[in-house]
Amino acid sequence: MKTPLLAIGSAPLALDALIAAVADRADATGSDGAVATFLGLVRNHNVGRRVHHLEYEAYDPLALRAFERINAEIQVRWPDVRLALHHRTGKIEIGGASVAIAAASPHRGHAFSACRYAIERVKQIAPVWKREFFDGGDVWIEGATADPDDEQALAEAERLACV
């Protein structure tokens, strides 16, 4: 089965499949000079707490829309980038991957920037929540207010991506 470029679901993530998906360019075979990748992992500690595992919840159809929007923003900034972005939901153990991103481009700079931009935007706007289970309890982690039109958030993502 062909790996979709954008996906959210409970299946374990396979970075190899994302790399293959972005390398599969019908229009420009052989033109890529780089694939930058990012794998987000579940860490065993957070703000001084010993973490046992995480549970991710998402509003799947809106999450896919968010990924499409992030991809569109990337196409405006780096038109030669092909992006793959998968987010996992459900229970993920320590060391497991929660998000996988691959960005292919003729130029390494574009690939690195697009990859960084994508993860920053996921954290800012994707309707995904993590529940942290730690020694002594559990808590929903609450970060950014999801507003895709927030100019300040866009500027911050661009700054981190070295635009």
Binding site: L62, A63, K130
Partner: protein, 81 residues
């Protein structure tokens, strides 16, 4: 009019359900529905300024006017990645 309300993360825990249907007056906005929800579950009041919302699985503003059958989601601050 009747709309479906979808709830996530802590809002879902507070309400005790991921989904509910609510009757609203014609001309009601997302904000109207939020106020109705907050009246029913006072614990959510602190989210007034930090939630974002979606209508029919697309981002929407609080002043969006609802129509019969809409699916409205209240999104607490997100923490993906």
């Amino acid at each position: 009019m009747r709309v479906t309300l979808k709830l996530f993360a802590r809002l879902r825990d507070i309400a005790g359900t991921p989904e509910m249907t609510r009757d609203i007056e014609a001309g009601a906005t997302v904000r109207t529905l939020w106020q109705q929800f907050a009246a029913e579950f006072p614990e959510v009041a602190s989210y007034e300024r930090s939630i974002s919302t979606a209508v029919n699985a697309d981002y929407a503003r609080m002043d969006r006017v609802l129509t019969d059958g809409d699916e409205v989601a209240f999104l607490p601050p997100v923490s993906g990645g």
